[in-house]
Each structure stands twice: as structure tokens, then as C-alpha cells.
């Protein structure tokens, strides 16, 4: 009969508002916590939580309490914060040659300080202009000595374009959180590891790997 399709459609939307508590969106960088969220964090019933912590309850009712959720991020995620291992870099500039946009600038000096195999070069300049970087990862693929890794950050906003250029000092100082993009040895611990110490799975990416149960909750509807 004509018109049944309309009613069926109404049923679908009703199902989505009534039975599915899963939201499609993630609040970023933080979200306003309700009492239920706070009680969940404390493993309490929200009514008893409201009685025991009246101030916090009031605050959360007024939308003043903020909690931040972690975004699932796979260790292969290629982002900013390039992890560069100074001792392994020979300054061969493969990365610079292979970059499609030509945004890597390397200047080397012959001092004989470097102890990796290959040529003995000291790196004076290593600029990566991430303002123009498209995170294709080809520089990592090109590096023959595993010296350059993609990072896992994505929050590197700056006020000036010049600040987006990562120079060698920043690369040296940066916290190393390499992405396993094109570095499968970081994923498989049995394999040959060029690192002195192995990097655990959860340290590779920025956030913890979601468990299979989490994924199930996320994807499969009851």
C-alpha cells in the first residue's frame, strides 16, 4: 500500500533515537560531562553520586565540568611530530629528494662525527615545512637507514607560517613517538629491531589500541 514506506521510515528514525545510545560523533577536544558520565568514572550509581558529591553535581548540571575522551588512533597513523634519530641519519638526503613537494631541506657538513654506516656527515640543517607537508610518508619510505619516522600528532596549529617549519633542534628535542607507517619492525617484536630498546605497542601510537570488545560495542548493534 502507498504510504507504508513513509511509516517504515518513521520507524527507523524512531529506533535510532530510542534504542541506540551510540552517538556518531566524538567531542573534541573535550566534552561537557553530565552526572551520569561522572558517576561512571567513579563506578557509582548516578543518584548516589549526586548525593555524595553535591557540588560536582551542581557544576556538571551547569555544564562546568569537562572531561576529554581519547580518540582511537592506530599506530600506523601518519601525522606530525616527525621522529628523527640523529645517530642513524647519514645526511644522504634521500628524504629530501623523494619528497613530492620538496619541503625537506638538508645541509650537511663534513666533520666525521657521525657513527652510522655510510658517509660521515654532520647535519647542520634539517628543515621540514609541515605547513606544506601532505603526510604521504614517502620520505620515510625513502630513508635507507630507518632514521626518519612519521609521528602521531595532529594538533600542531601555529599562529605564524614560519613556526610550522620544524628545524633540526626541534627534531632532536622532540619526544619520539614513531608511527609504524613503513616501519613494520615496530609492529613485530620477533623481527630484527634496529632500536636499542623495543617500543611497546601502546607507546607507538598516541593512544591505546582499542580492544576487540570495544570495537564490538562500537560497531555492532544489539
Amino acid at each position: 500500500m502507498y504510504g507504508l514506506g513513509l511509516i517504515k521510515g518513521l520507524g527507523i528514525t524512531l529506533k535510532n533515537i530510542l534504542f541506540l545510545q551510540r552517538r556518531n560523533t566524538t567531542q573534541y577536544p573535550d566534552r561537557k560531562a553530565s552526572i551520569i558520565d561522572l558517576a561512571k568514572l567513579d563506578n557509582k550509581n548516578f543518584i548516589s553520586y549526586a548525593f555524595t558529591n553535591p557540588m560536582k553535581t551542581l557544576k556538571s548540571m551547569m555544564g562546568m565540568i569537562v572531561i576529554s575522551d581519547k580518540v582511537d588512533q592506530h599506530p600506523r597513523f601518519r601525522g606530525e611530530e616527525f621522529s628523527w634519530y640523529e645517530e642513524r641519519c647519514t645526511g644522504c638526503a634521500s628524504c629530501a629528494k623523494f619528497c613530492p613537494l620538496g619541503i625537506i631541506k638538508i645541509v650537511t657538513d663534513q666533520t666525521g662525527k657521525n657513527y652510522a654506516e655510510g658517509q660521515n656527515y654532520d647535519i647542520e640543517t634539517f628543515d621540514i615545512d609541515i605547513g606544506r607537508c601532505m603526510f604521504c610518508g614517502l620520505c620515510v619510505e625513502a630513508c635507507p637507514y630507518d632514521a626518519l619516522h612519521m609521528g602521531s600528532g595532529f594538533e600542531e596549529g601555529q599562529y605564524k607560517r614560519n613556526d610550522l617549519v620544524i628545524d633540526v633542534e626541534r627534531l632532536k628535542k622532540a619526544e619520539k613517538k614513531p608511527s609504524t607507517w613503513f616501519r613494520p619492525q615496530l609492529e613485530q617484536k620477533d623481527d630484527y629491531s634496529p632500536f636499542d630498546e623495543e617500543i611497546a605497542w601502546d607507546k607507538v601510537g598516541r593512544h591505546q589500541k582499542p580492544s576487540k570488545k570495544d570495537l564490538k560495542n562500537k560497531w555492532i548493534r544489539k
Binding site: G3, I12, T13, R22, G63
Partner: protein, 389 residues
Amino acid sequence: MISFNTLNLFLVDLLSFLPDKLVFTISGLIMSVAICTFLIGLGSVYTWFERRVIARFQNRSGPNRWGPFGILQPIADAVKLLIKEDIIPATADKMVFIAAPIIFLCTTLLVYAFLPLGIDSQLGNINVALLFVLGITSVNALSVFMAGWASRNKYATLGAIRAVAMLISYEVPMAISLMGIVMVSQSLSLVGIVNAQSNIPFIILQPLGAITFMIAAIAEMSRAPFDMIESESELIGGYITEYAGMKFAVFQLSEFLAPIFTASLFTVLFLGGSNPLKFLEFLPIPGILWFASKSFVITAILLWFRSTWPRLRIDQIMGFAWKVLMPAAILNTLLVGLELVFIRDNYILQIIINMLIFVVFIYLIANILGQKRLKLKEPVPSELANMDA
């Protein structure tokens, strides 16, 4: 129980030292300002409510940053719109361009003048309130056309043309569908209509009229699936394309007031207004709460429709008005007229007959319209291509 009338009397008492005419003017003014302020506040809260509910239908969160559950969002919106640059297109007809949103808001607010929100709770009670409501809602078409025409924008003009065609068409079945309840209640006053429903709400007595009125009313306020006038994906914004800042806010406010108004009118006309539901009469709930909760249900249903259905095309919308809603409204009037002559006091029989006719009518319309549309042809591969060769 506090009602508008007691408030009014209190005001009159307070001002009794003044001459009589002045007293009534001032007290009326105070009451209307209070009602208008309340409605505008309600309208802005409703924007939050609508956005939240539709967001939940779509598995999103909706506005949730300002205040608890984002309820302060309307204030943030208003502030943002207030401090926006007020742009009037160079070629626009300035007077008309500015007047259009004001007329729109005024007519929307004026509707509430004679709407009984509870027992003895209305600003005024005139004996032609229904006619007044029908008349004042027609002015919307004028203000929309003013806005679209004065903008000197092709999208706006197209929207305005659509608005005039559509709003005027839907006025007719809307008015005719109300004939039935006027005949039964023997009154054009809204209070009279509410009182006539103290036993049975008209939605049960005249389901055909109720559904015709509902559909026509959705079209009148141009909400989905009849949101032809703004139709974002086609005309960008229709008549509000060129509006910005506060003028835009006024338009938006009146548009968000429209569902509230429609819901209240539907409650008054078909759901028994502030009368309690029969089986819940024992509860000590004031009439205005009954009214509010009934209206709330209707607005929620409107939102549900809005978030589910796509939009009809302009010719389909016009065809629907004249080919389906008109016959339905006339049939309803005819039916009620005959029943009033023959079985005036037998409500049960009336309900049974009307329900039956309602179901049969819907079924017939659905089948006549539907049969050829629903059948899908069996695909036959064209001879012009042969993958396996």
C-alpha cells in the same frame, strides 16, 4: 488557580486610581508584553530543543557547549546574530526589506491573542477568534513575498513565488477542514470550541478533518516535507537568502515560533485544549500544563517527520493540496453536516462512521495514487553491450 483573568483583575485593581479606559489599556499592554516576551523566550528555547532532538535522530550530539545540555545556545546565537554586520543589498527595496521580518513576527505573535492557553487564560475572547486566526496566518504569505521581492535576488524571488503559490493553496483546505468543528461546536470562538470538546476531543470525532488540518498546517508553516519555500538544497534559503544579522534572527524566530503556534492551535481545535484526558481526570494537573504537554507531543511529532522525510517537488505539493486535501476537507464537512442532521446526539455512532470513512478514504487515496508508482519494472539487459563476448 492562577489564570490570566485573575492576573488581569489584579492589575485592574492595582491601577484603579486611574480613569477606566486607561486602566484597561495599561493592563492589556502589560499582559501582552508579558505574553510576547514569554513567547519569544519560548521560541528561542525551542530552537535549542529542535536542534537537540534532530541531532539525536541523526546520532549526533547537537548543541551542548553552553550551559547544561547546551540550553544557553539560543543566547549565544542571539548575541552572535546581534553583533553581525547588518547587510542590506544595494539594489534592495529598503523599506519593504526591513518591514518584512517585522510583519512576519507580528503576525505570528498576534495569533496568540485569542488562543486559550488554559481555563480562563487568554488575552481576549472574541466570538470570531477562529476567523481571526485564519486571517492573520494568511498575512505570512504577504510578508514572505515582501521579503523575497524586496531582496532583488533571484533565489529569493523564486522562493517568494513558491511561497505565494503554496501558502494560498493550502489555506483553502485548512479553512474548509475546520468547518466540521465549527458546525459541531456551533461557535467560532476558540473558547467555545475548547468547551465543546469537554467530552470527546475532535480528533476522535473528526479524524479526517484533523489530519487534513495537520497536513495543511505543516505546509502553511513550510516545514518538511513541504519546506519548499526555503528548500536549502535548491534555493539556498529562499526568501531569507539576503537577510543577515538581526533581521535574519527575527525571521528565524518567527519560523521557530510557527511549530509552537501550530501545535497550540491543533491542541485547541482537535485535542481539547486545556481539558484533561478523560482517563486521567483525577490527577490534580492545571489546565495550562495539559495544554503544554499536548502541544509538546505535537511539536515532537512534527520534528520526527522533519528528520525522516525528504521534500516533495513543487508540482507534487500543489497537486496534493488540490487533489487530495481539498476532497478530504470537503468530504469531512459533508459528513459532519449529514451527521448533525440525522444522528446529532449519538456520538458513538458518529465516531464509528467517521473512523470508518477515514480509514476507507486513506486506503482509497493510497491505492489510487500508489499502485502504478510502487511497481518496479524487471530490468532487461540492453543488446548494445555484451560483457562475455
